[in-house]
Amino acid sequence: MNSEQVEDLVRRAQQGDVRAFERLIAEHLPIVRRFARAFARGHEAAADLAQDALLKVYRSIGGYRFQSSFSTWLYAIVRNVYLDDARSRAGRDRAAERPLEPGGLDADPTVDTDAPRADRRLEREELRRYVWEALGTIPAEFRATLVLYDIEGLTYEEIAAIENAPLGTVKSRLSRGREHLRRVLCGPEAARHLGDAVPAEDLSEPGNSAAAELVRRKRTEPA
């Protein structure tokens, strides 16, 4: 979508054209939803949060003045909604609605009934879920930066524009977020999630983190 098309869609959306707004945000939906996943427990809570954020974007579009790219403006609002939610009591309540249980999975009607494939799928889902959970323990500002950079692949400059912060601040937040994530995934806390698979004392060894064990399990399964 070129800039003229974006401008036309923004003008129409500012006048209340819902279809134009939906076309405008269509390509950003996966990022907005994955980003929400880092701030909510489970897919349903993440979907609720993403809905709130997109509604906020729609209500705010009258104030968009084409001073930055539309995606930057969009992600800035989405990020603020997520951070506000994470800080508020409502956000904590939302997280508490569906406590994460080890091994528990969202109901997925597409799960294969074939046993080995189903197991592999469950393992993959468990791994992802475990990492999402670990991401959820990172302080919200560091988490947002880490998700935008390490998962969504935005550049430092893009994130600086979204967060309205200097590059140095972005790099600092990223570094601290990674440090926190590494501590959670590779530290003794990870033992709780692995049960007896890896003794707690072995998790401090290089290459023997909880995530490594989960990946190893996934890779050594028969095809």
Partner: protein
């Protein structure tokens, strides 16, 4: 916005693998999500036009961005002027009004009040030739100094 495997070298390889996997994770129930969003947007109605405060903020923001280059020049000019003034003050020994004397203006009627440590003769000695004399004391009484001076007669003893 492409994923670069060299970006997150601070994290262990296995963690980077998982994050890479998360970046390709498609959120579930896409159609249901879109349908729900459409309903919410339709129910929300047209987005409100920005109020006067938002317009004012936008105007200020426009002005700030448009004037960024001019602002840089103005900042440079101000810094240059300050540097020049500082250099001038340093070169003049920190006393811009007098060379080594007190910073009391000779025209100031309150000079005696401001510099009480000086007696009258000392204060008089500080005056430059041609300075206007003090005509009133601190209570406002006429000192008589504004009278025309009498013509000096030659001193007969000096001859």
């Amino acid at each position: 916005m492409k994923w670069d495997t060299q970006r997150s070298l601070q994290l262990p390889q296995e963690v980077r693998d998982v994050l890479d996997e998360l970046s390709h994770e498609a959120p579930p129930d896409e159609r249901e999500f879109s349908a729900r969003l459409h309903r919410n947007l339709a129910a929300a109605g047209a987005p409100p036009a920005p109020g006067w405060l938002e317009r004012l903020q936008g105007w200020a923001s426009d002005l700030w961005q448009d004037a960024s280059q001019k602002r840089t020049l103005a900042t440079g000019a101000v810094i240059g002027a300050l540097a020049t003034a500082t250099a001038f003050l340093l070169l003049s020994g920190g006393h811009p009004f007098h060379d080594g004397g007190p910073t009391v203006s000779p025209d100031d009627d309150t000079a005696e009040v401001d510099a009480p440590g000086l007696d009258r003769s000392e204060h008089k000695a500080l005056r430059a030739v041609g300075d206007r004399r003090i005509t009133r004391d601190r209570l406002g009484d006429d000192l008589g100094a504004d009278r025309p001076e009498r013509a000096r007669l030659p001193n007969p003893r000096s001859r």
